[in-house]
């Protein structure tokens, strides 16, 4: 299969927009790691850094979409070029949301620290889920770079594990609240935080669905796992 267009300019525009997308992915990954670090160390400083970087993520989303609109207007891409650009545009929106979730985690960390309740909460229990979520996102970005549908399928399956971790954590949190109602306020912060982690997994899943769309040309959103497996194979 030929990867080069007759127009080398078109090639470099597509490469440029893909590179920007990967750059944004890297930035968002770093944001999640920072947010998780802020949580495990209960550090206001680290949480503040996450908030400070959020604007950069937002502006990257806008820049990438502007580049994509410009390519569509000037090149009228079709078939896999069009699918790639559609997918990058949607995946960029997902990354921006992941950035929002990281910022939300940082905000909740600050709130918990302010309430002074950090010692009495099961925050460390979120470690497994948060590592899973950031791992999924990294895998999704790797799979996107390589347009690897098998890896994408794996991510779709793994997202269920995060959902299960989340459910388990909520049960634990309820026990804490019942035992000591004074922790309810901070526990709610922690619940939002856990939800943010769970959402990151969902966004990684969305990115994976887009990889299958680019390669196979089929939209597998809202499809059963059996259907998706048959598309990928």
């Amino acid at each position: 299969m030929s990867d080069k267009h007759l127009s080398t300019q078109f090639d470099s525009e597509l490469t440029e927009v893909s590179t920007r997308f990967m750059e944004m992915g890297g930035l968002v990954e770093a944001q999640i790691h920072q947010a998780i670090r802020a949580l495990s160390a209960f550090s206001v400083e680290v949480a503040n850094q996450v908030t400070a970087n959020e604007a950069r993520v937002n502006s990257m989303e806008v820049e990438i979409d502007r580049e994509i609109s410009s390519i569509i207007a000037r090149r009228q891409p079709t078939a896999r070029d069009l699918r790639l650009l559609m997918a990058i545009s949607k995946a960029t929106a997902n990354l921006e949301r992941v950035g929002d979730e990281a910022e939300k985690i940082a905000r909740m960390v600050r709130s918990i620290i302010q309430s002074g309740a950090q010692r009495s909460l099961p925050a460390l229990e979120l470690r497994v889920a948060s590592d899973m979520a950031s791992g999924l996102l990294r895998k999704a970005l790797d799979a996107f770079a390589r347009l690897d549908t098998t890896a994408a399928l794996g991510i779709l399956k793994d997202d269920n594990l995060i959902d299960r971790e989340f459910d388990g954590f909520v049960r634990k949190l309820i026990t804490y609240m019942m035992e000591d109602p004074r922790t309810i306020s901070s526990s709610l912060d922690l619940l939002f935080l856990a939800k943010a982690i769970e959402r990151i997994g969902d966004h990684a899943k969305n990115v994976s669905e887009l990889i299958i769309y680019v390669v196979k040309g089929l939209d597998v959103r809202h499809s059963s796992m059996d259907k998706i497996e048959s598309v990928v194979k």
């Binding site: 299969m1 030929s2 007759l6 078109f10 079709t78 078939a79 069009l82 699918r83 196979k216």
Partner: protein
Amino acid sequence: MTSTITLPEPAPNLKAESKNLDFYYGDFKALKGVSMPIYENRVTALIGPSGCGKSTYLRCFNRMHDLYPGHRYDGRIELYPDDVDILDASVDPIEVRMRVSMVFQKPNPFPKSIFENVAYGLRVRGEKSSSYIEDKVESALKGAAIWSEVKDRLAEPATNLSGGQQQRLCIARSLATDPEIILFDEPTSALDPIATGSIEELIGEIKDKVTILIVTHNMQQAARVSDFVAYMYLGEMMEYGATGDIFMKPKRQETEDYITGRFG
């Protein structure tokens, strides 16, 4: 190559069909076993690089190749509903051209008045009634969306019109004889974007009355005007499908490389 495609609902009727069509310019085989359906009241676009055989294929539909010695057809083109094989030697090419007319790349009005250009086919057919001819000319000019521009100057030479108007006049000339199929061979490549837009709009309007087969080098035009697309290469039909499918996810890598501009 025939492949299964998803037809829109309700499924259109077949208007014509080429079956294993070969064509030779002397010793050179320009078409190799092309089989393809042409659906009624739909626009079918033929795309492919220069020399792929798309114009050759189009011209088979009104026996245009008969005009040169040494050209040879093999295979069939059936016209429905009466199952006539257009290519059969016993079929009169003039009869075929009454049913299948053609609009060319460069507008080619006759050196006559606007009115006479459109009336020409009717007169050739032996039509004598001047009121009938007048009605037909008016409705053909209206059908080709040029009536309002020329109704007060019907006696002027057609060559006074602009390129885009001349092309619409040629379409009106085709429509006047009520053809079943109109063949368009690069109908807008000599026109500016505005005139191109009006021809494309017109194609969309007249397809309610006729079946259209169009050759175009402009891929975006194929995407805009057609319901079905056939990609041809080196005399073979590589892929045929609904336009949306071909431009979003063609089945063959060769098609994808061509439409995304990776062909070289």
